[in-house]
């Protein structure tokens, strides 16, 4: 047989920008090296953190000796219910009238993908998805592959390292009616810049009849308070928006590799919710048939067991607080070094990521001269900062910006 290959014309796929950072980091022999690309929480020793509530939930589950039968296509019912309650609040009128459907998904990515596929098939309006500028790198390829067009609205203001509220309102109020707008519910990725409540209110009031798609990957992780972090989502619903919502439990429960997420569609009534649910199942079945149980069971056990839920809220608060403290210490360190720049945005931004405002040349110097690894856009993961290395980081950033 010949040496001919079917795949001769297949090009090498470009390296993932974030993975590339970690690969380079691994090869670096500098003992002071820092990986600030990683989008996963680290404790103050720089180690992955398995929450106690997770370990306790796992022990409870193990003791139950459950079988391994397939979950329904839409996932573990007690998980989906708890997932929706967490986002909307248990007393939400939407839940009481059963006018929403929540399916368990493969974490946030899987949720966005199902959502994108659903909109591609059923959305009657323009198939344009408006993302904030900038947005999570994976949003664009997900929606594009589902057949949607991508557009943008102004969001991040580089000159202030803050929210371009005027630009956002301006752009959003010009979006063609019935288009889809994606909003980060809290802890915007990659900038860490969130609208304030009064700003959210104005955005919600824009009368363009847009389909609002919330991506909530950090509930609890942003401010430390799950209700506060879900405020925007709940406000929009109260104001008459029948939203669609993606949730992830990767960060707030540290369940990254277990792939726990949910996709919710708020409908006009229970009957519509049933129809939507039936179609979501049709979309899910040819991708992976039904979702993995392990993480969903852990999450459900935590959310539905009062002591574990309390413990979880404490631990999530703890993670958020450590991040906030690192932000403060970084800024204090920069001030101490005599930096003349305004670093207030490091404290004002929220969640795992910080858009430092560093330029590509400065980022490159940080990596080459100090072994501090981050993505080219100047984004750092505060989760990679510890009390042990925050001083070094302040020195390094000062050195490349003075």
């Amino acid at each position: 047989c010949t040496r001919y290959s079917w795949w001769g014309g297949v090009q090498m796929g470009p390296p993932d920008p974030i993975l590339g950072v970690t690969e380079a980091f691994k090869k670096d022999t500098n003992p002071k090296k820092m990986n600030l690309g990683v989008g996963a929480y680290r404790d103050d020793q720089g180690k992955p953190f398995v929450l106690s509530c997770v370990r306790k939930a796992e022990a409870i589950i193990a003791a139950k000796q459950l079988d391994k039968e397939y979950l329904p296509i839409g996932g573990l019912a007690e998980f989906s219910k708890a997932c929706a309650q967490l986002a909307l609040g248990p007393e939400n009128e939407v839940l009481k009238s059963s006018r929403s459907v929540t399916v368990q998904t493969i974490s946030g990515t899987g949720s966005l993908r199902i959502g994108a596929n659903f909109l591609a098939r059923f959305h009657p309006g323009p198939h344009d998805v408006y993302l904030p500028k900038p947005s999570w790198g994976n949003h664009t390829p997900i929606f594009r592959d589902a057949g949607m067009q991508l557009k943008a609205y102004r969001y991040y203001e580089p000159s202030t390292c803050g929210f371009d509220f005027k630009g956002a309102l301006d752009d959003i109020s010009k979006i063609p009616e019935q288009s889809i707008i994606l909003l980060h519910a809290c802890a915007h990725n990659p900038t860490g810049v969130d609208p304030r409540p009064e700003q959210w209110k104005e955005i919600a009031d824009i009368k363009r009849n847009l389909l609002v798609f919330f991506d909530m990957a950090y509930q609890g992780f942003a401010s430390g308070d799950i209700d506060r972090d879900a405020w925007a989502v709940r406000h929009f619903i109260e104001n008459g928006h029948n939203i669609v919502l993606s949730q992830s439990f990767a960060k707030n429960m540290g369940l990254y590799g277990e792939r726990v997420g949910g996709f919710t569609v708020v409908c006009k009534d229970a009957e519509e919710a049933k129809r939507v649910e039936s179609q979501l199942k049709i979309l899910i079945r040819p991708i992976y048939s039904n979702p993995p149980v392990n993480g969903a069971r852990i999450a459900a056990t935590i959310l539905n067991t009062p002591e574990l839920r309390s413990l979880w809220l404490e631990e999530v608060h703890g993670m958020a607080n450590r991040i906030i403290k690192m932000r403060e210490q970084l800024v204090a360190g920069l001030k101490k070094n005599g930096s003349s720049h305004n670093w207030q945005h490091v404290i004002d931004q929220i969640g795992m990521f910080c858009f430092t405002g560093l330029k590509p040349e400065q980022v490159e110097r940080l990596t080459k001269e100090f072994s501090v690894y981050m993505t080219k856009d100047g984004r750092i993961s505060m989760a990679g900062v510890t009390s042990g290395n925050v001083g070094y980081l302040a020195d390094a950033i000062h050195a490349v910006t003075k």
């Binding site: 974490s107 990515t109 019935q178 540290g254 079945r285």
Partner: protein, 408 residues
């Protein structure tokens, strides 16, 4: 409001189980969904799996961090070894790779998405995808949702003689467009339980090689069919040794009983390491926009088992237990039908292999069984042998006898 969304029809096999669950009849029998059951009619978590799960839960070094996009490296390589054999020349030549996926479905999905983008041209949605007539009901949807416009049947099941329609199969292989993709069941064909013999596989392979057809194996029952991993992988290994570049979607749902953990592996056999590298890099991009990275629990369980000699042996014993119970139910069902003098021949029940049997019952007879006897099976006449137990087999045999004699 915004959505004019019609109600979708429920997936038939799950609807069947739902109806079964709602049925109050005390002697009801579920011969629908494809999951193993013990002789007590209960789900069975493999003893080796229980053991390994304990190991995992007590290992404080383990965390819940993201797996790489392509999955747990040791899982991918040990899973590929299971289907291709430890000493597969292709593995030794560094031209075998894999993607950890969500079950067999997920492996088919990633393979299908890759093929649609890169096989037979670029984004060629018109490449014909051939699936057996009949086949697992989700095959069609996996390939059409990946963008393929032309999913067609190839002749497979001969209803009259209740066996393989080899002439039809080979005929379709000879007459199909070059470069067509054929989805082949590695063993324990679902739903018919009818596999080609080794000689027949050789004939199939010869035509496929000559006509430049792409082999995409679906291996959901390795070990579960005959009780032997090697025997159940014979066809896949034969194709590899014949020089095919091919895919094999592996599921560990049945042979590890890990249904709800979604453990699958897409094994890729390429011409050489360079082609393999490029293929995997593009599959990575597909994974990233589908689920980003796969779930870790199931892959950990399988990896720990496959990479420990004692646990591996124990697993093989557990697999044999399942396969043997199925074989026993097959032989007993046939014996009882023959003893009852039920019209027709029932050799196919023991000739067929794996979880399923295509009984040959027609839709009216099936309806009779469901409605009158509270025995739930698919409209196609497919039964899950695992639903049979020593306690219900007499009732089922007698009911089949009734259906065949009363309903034409």
């Amino acid at each position: 409001n915004i959505f004019k969304v019609p109600q979708a029809a429920p997936v038939a096999v799950f609807k069947l189980t739902q109806d079964f669950n709602n049925d109050q009849f005390p002697n009801k029998v579920n011969l629908g969904v494809g999951a193993y059951r013990t002789d007590e009619g209960q789900p069975w978590v493999l003893p080796v799996v229980k053991k390994v799960e304990k190991i995992i839960v007590h290992d404080d070094r383990l965390n819940h961090e993201y797996l790489p996009i392509l999955g747990l490296p040791e899982f991918r390589s040990s899973a590929s070894k299971i289907v291709l054999g430890d000493n597969s020349p292709a593995i030794l030549e560094n031209r075998v790779g894999a993607v950890q996926c969500l079950g067999g479905t997920g492996a088919l999905k990633i393979g299908a998405e890759f093929l649609r983008r890169f096989y037979n041209g670029s984004n060629n949605t018109k490449t014909p995808i051939y699936v057996s007539a009949p086949t697992w009901e989700n095959h069609n949807a996996v390939f059409s949702s990946a963008g393929f416009e032309d999913v067609r049947p190839y002749r497979y099941w001969d209803a009259e003689k209740r066996g393989l329609d080899l002439a039809g199969f080979l005929g379709d292989l000879e007459s199909c467009p070059e470069h067509s993709v054929f989805v082949l069941h590695a063993c324990a064909h679902n739903p018919t339980g009818t596999d080609p013999t080794q000689e027949q596989w050789k004939q199939i392979a010869e035509v496929m090689m000559r006509r430049k057809l792409f082999a995409f194996f679906d291996s959901a029952y390795q070990g579960f069919a005959s009780g032997s991993l090697e025997k159940d992988a014979w066809a896949v290994r034969y194709f590899v040794s014949s020089g095919f570049e091919m895919f094999c979607a592996q599921s560990f749902s049945k042979n590890f009983g890990l249904y709800n953990e979604r453990v699958g592996n897409l094994t890729v056999v390429a011409r050489d390491a360079d082609n393999l590298k490029r293929v995997l890099s593009q599959m990575e991009k597909v994974v990233r926009i589908t689920w980003s990275n796969p779930p870790s629990q199931g892959a950990r369980i399988v990896t720990i088992t496959l990479t420990s000699p004692e646990l591996f042996s124990e697993w093989q014993e557990n697999v044999k237990t399942m396969a043997n119970r199925v074989l026993l139910m097959r032989s007993q069902l046939k014996a009882k039908l023959q003893a009852l003098g039920t019209p027709g021949t029932w050799d196919h029940i023991t000739d067929q292999i794996g979880m399923f049997s295509f009984t040959g019952l027609n839709p009216k007879q099936v309806e009779y069984l469901v409605k009158e006897k509270h025995i739930y099976l698919m409209a196609s006449g497919r039964i899950n042998m695992c639903g049979l137990t020593t306690k219900n087999i007499d009732y089922v045999a007698e009911s089949i006898h009734e259906a065949v004699t009363k309903v034409q």
